[in-house]
């Protein structure tokens, strides 16, 4: 099978470095991964093509890059499944990180963010003589997050990082979750305080791109949501960061309104989230409210409780109870 591989290239050694696309014609076999294909280019056609790779088996995390616009692990992606009808495939460096050369990106910000979440176990001291005891279910649950190979595919496609480079991002926050969910770690309160801050768990827009991109099923977004839940549950104060305050209050208010009224009252949600006396922010919402009104989409400000609200409350209690009794 013939593949036309369009590779985005960049060589910093040039006097005025500029990125460009180069097409390589490569004979590929059915079982070839994108990585096999690129290695073939590098070994047989152009040795100057720079990319990171090592294990060839989706475990070292070296080879995240964009294939046809989406982040994948090159060694996990079958090239035949990515070829267009006319046999083309486009390979670009991972997104949201500066390019060093060709498909090699600068990972320093990635590691810096990892450092920022205090990514090491902080257990009760003194250490026991034997192992810390921990339920197998908790460990099995953690295997999924420990499965993260730090490839950065999620970071590449994160929509918040595109606009706000300060966001800690899916990989670091998934790592953060590993410690909060680890029953051996004693510092949940401190941790949640850190993750509540600017750039933390409340800045994710839940776009789901990271879940899509992750080659190891880590589902970073779900971990971030679980951290939010823990923060709310434990009553960890959101700190001085507005975004966290709003995010935090949004979810608290959401739950309050639903259990109280049996349905969502969006106007109340806005008021409760922003704060009754937060006039500037409330006024800031006015244009949106007005335009909603024009289109007859403005929700009524006050409503009566929905019929069957008792059922809703029972459900809510059940959820709360489950949450609390979940293996900690």
């Amino acid at each position: 099978m013939q593949a036309k591989v369009n590779v985005r290239r960049f060589n910093p050694d040039e006097e005025r470095p500029k990125s460009y696309t180069q097409q390589f014609d490569v004979e590929v076999e059915e079982h070839f991964t994108v990585l096999d294909t690129l290695i073939k280019v590098r070994e047989e056609i152009d040795g100057s093509l720079a990319l990171r790779c090592s294990c060839r088996a989706a475990i070292c995390g070296s080879c995240a890059m964009r294939v046809n616009g989406h982040a994948v692990l090159a060694c996990k992606a079958r090239v035949s499944q990515h070829l267009s009808d006319d046999g083309q495939v486009t390979v670009e460096p991972a997104g949201n990180q500066p390019v060093i050369k060709d498909l090699v990106v600068d990972l320093e910000p990635f590691w810096d963010k990892l450092r920022a979440v205090e990514p090491y176990l902080q257990p009760a001291m003194p250490e026991p003589e034997a192992e810390y005891l921990a339920p197998n279910e908790v460990m099995l649950h953690l295997v999924d997050v420990m499965g993260c190979i730090m490839c950065g595919a999620c970071v590449s496609d994160c929509t918040v990082l595109e606009v706000d480079p300060n966001f800690l991002g899916p990989a670091a926050l998934a790592k953060a979750y590993r410690f909060v969910a680890d029953t051996r770690d004693e510092e949940d309160t401190k941790r949640l305080g850190i993750y509540n801050a600017y750039g933390g768990i409340w800045d994710c827009t839940r776009c789901g791109e990271c879940v899509q991109a992750c080659p190891k099923g880590v589902a970073p977004m779900d971990r971030i949501m679980a951290l939010r839940e823990k923060a709310v549950e434990s009553g960890t104060p959101p700190g001085s960061y507005e975004g966290a305050q709003y995010g935090y209050r949004h979810s608290v208010a959401f739950e309050e309104i639903i259990t109280h009224k049996g349905r969502l009252e969006e106007t109340q949600l806005v008021v409760k989230t922003l704060g009754m006396f937060n006039l500037p922010k409330l006024l800031g919402m006015a244009p949106m409210a007005l335009s909603a009104m024009f289109r007859r989409k403005m929700p009524p400000p006050i409503t009566r409780a929905a019929p069957g609200v008792g059922q809703v409350r029972r459900l809510a209690n059940r959820i709360r109870w489950n949450r609390l009794s979940k293996v900690e």
Binding site: G47, A50, A57, I100, L140, M146
Partner: protein, 568 residues
């Protein structure tokens, strides 16, 4: 100039464990690695790590005996005792650092069975044990703020009069060459699987550390002892863990027989790796194969167990050969996996003679797969290698700190060392004639090695491989590096790695020809029996003088277990 008391080359498990030990003691330590630490090949270890825990009713003597027997009595028993005795505590250390580990019903560490051992003493994290430990070790490195030279490639050890004083290395991002000074240097640069094709090893496993030490005057020991793993995927050579057989998977041939019945009636699929690999090759040669492979059958384990404990090999088999192991058996064959031999060290990571004098390079330590202590002898037991990395990583750091405390820096001229290195790199870059491309030469070497030094070996075959490798060392001088630039020049790095691999390949072939018996992984058709009378000894190789290789023999250390026939 960059300067440290202790410099660790390599950031796999051995390197990180060493650096961590030094950092905890407050030493001025740094680590240097050609890939980011978590990319190191230790992450590929799937099955687990061995330890005999007394509170589980196990006894380290039994672990030691299994290891001695597994090694086909070539392992040094004093070293094996150290490793097995300290295993329990080291395992608990790992748990305290944060490794998650599968648990039993009481929340304590759980075990699985592994090859060549009469008792289940392999501790594990699903089938991502190496990754799970490596990432936690990196967490600790971050906690202690260890200085890491990320993506730096070490090219030469700086030595003078047999004393090591640091390293010359290239910062890959810029292509700049620097000298780093160190009172003590620890090599933890991993294995050399890429010397063969196919191999379970990652592309970075190129034997750099062994070659660097060898060129600097340190001896390489038992290099002929290359392990073939019984269950690797055809083509890529990617591994399916022994954990599968540990959980109860079968090996079957084209006639549907569990053929291990005929080769190891007691241990069956869980006999030592050398034994199982030979059985497979015999089946394949006798025509009981399917396209050059036999089958690994996991179906009867059930989906639930597979998804809980063998999830990674499920993923790999699906991705790379399109087989769902819950539904179908997967074709496998033996593939090159592990180097038992390496830089000769004692149990403290240094190369001393019995009287305590430096016999290799003074101030140079080694640990992990790059070293040969020797705890694996002729054949490594599964899950003993991760143990080896953490035990001897820690111990070599302790000895290196002692050395650094007692000795100053070696005086050397930075310009001379850096200049010399740049000149030899430039010479490679300047090749424009009719030489081979790096990848072509690597493949020629790896194919020749696979042919001449496979599961079964003969004098003639090994000699052919050796001649071929020597020819390639000549061709290497003209090898073509197409990338002439500075920044992230992986092409140049591959060329330097190839140079290292050629030195290792030569040593493997020379060792293989030298050892005129069959022991462990070294199986000769022309000397089919083990010969304890003449060969209960290690083979040490020194590079030089000139193009020559000097050999030396060192008797193995026997403490409690006399050699006996090895049956499984």
């Amino acid at each position: 100039m960059y300067s440290h008391d202790v410099l660790v080359l390599g950031a796999g498990l051995a390197g990180m464990r060493a650096a961590l030990e030094a950092a905890r003691s407050g030493a001025n330590v740094a680590m240097l690695s050609k890939v980011y630490p978590v990319r190191s090949h230790s992450n590929a270890a799937q099955g687990g790590i061995n330890a005999a825990l007394t509170d589980r009713g196990d006894d380290w003597h039994e672990h030691a005996y299994d290891t001695v027997k597994g090694s086909d009595f070539l392992g040094d028993q004093d070293a094996i005792e150290v490793m097995c005795r300290e295993a329990g505590q080291e395992l608990i250390n790992l748990e305290h650092m944060g490794v998650i580990f599968n648990r039993d019903d009481e929340g304590r560490l759980g075990t699985r069975a592994f090859g060549g051992q009469r008792r289940a003493r392999t501790f594990f994290v699903a089938d991502i044990t190496g990754q799970a430990i490596l990432h936690v070790m990196y967490e600790q490195i971050l906690k202690y703020n260890v200085r890491v030279y990320d993506e730096w490639y070490a090219t030469t050890l700086i030595t003078d009069h047999g004393r090591c004083g640091g390293v010359v290395a290239m910062e890959m991002r810029t292509g700049e060459v620097h000298a780093i000074r160190a009172k003590a240097t620890i090599l933890a640069t991993g294995g050399l699987g890429r010397v063969f094709e196919p191999s379970t090893n990652a592309l970075i496993c190129t034997g750099d550390g062994m070659a660097l030490a060898y060129r600097a005057g340190a001896p390489l020991m038992d290099m002929e002892m290359v392990q073939y793993h019984p269950t690797t995927l055809k083509g890529s050579g990617v591994l399916l863990s022994e954990g599968a057989r540990g959980e109860g998977a079968y090996l079957i041939n084209s006639r549907g027989e569990r053929f291990m019945e005929r080769y190891a009636p007691n241990m069956m699929e869980l006999a030592s790796r050398d034994v199982v690999s030979r059985a497979e090759i015999t089946e394949i040669n006798e025509g009981n194969d399917i396209d050059g492979c036999v089958l690994l059958d996991c179906r009867h384990l059930g989906r639930a167990k597979i998804m809980e404990r063998l999830m990674y090999i499920h993923e790999v088999a699906m991705d790379l050969v399109g087989v769902d192991i819950t539904k179908d058996p997967v074709p496998i064959r033996p593939g090159v996996h592990y180097q038992m031999g390496g830089i000769k060290t004692d149990v403290d990571g240094r190369c001393w003679d019995p009287a305590g004098n430096w016999k290799g390079v003074e101030g140079l330590f080694a640990a992990g797969e790059t070293a040969c202590v020797s705890v694996h002898g002729g054949n490594r037991l599964g899950a003993n290698s991760l143990l080896d990395t953490v035990i001897f990583g820690r111990r070599s750091a302790e000895a290196a700190m002692d050395f650094a405390g007692a000795n100053g820096h070696l005086e050397f001229s930075e310009d001379t060392w850096v200049g010399g290195e740049k000149a030899s790199m430039q010479a490679l870059l300047d090749n424009n004639g009719g030489g081979d491309l790096v990848a072509k030469l690597r493949l020629d070497m790896a194919t020749a090695m696979d042919e001449g030094l496979g599961v079964y070996r003969t004098e003639e075959g090994m000699q052919q491989a050796l001649n071929a490798v020597r020819g390639m060392k000549g061709r290497f001088k003209d090898v073509i590096v197409q990338d002439k630039g500075k920044a992230f020049n992986t092409n140049l790095i591959f060329a330097l790695e190839l140079g290292c691999m050629l030195d290792c390949a030569e040593a493997i072939a020379v060792g293989g020809i030298e050892r005129k018996e069959s022991r462990g992984a070294h199986s000769r058709l022309d000397y089919a029996a083990r010969d304890d009378e003449n060969w209960l000894k290690h083979i040490l190789l020194y590079q030089g003088p000139g193009d020559q290789i000097t050999k030396e023999y060192v008797p193995i250390v026997i403490t409690q277990w006399q050699p006996e026939e090895r049956k499984y």
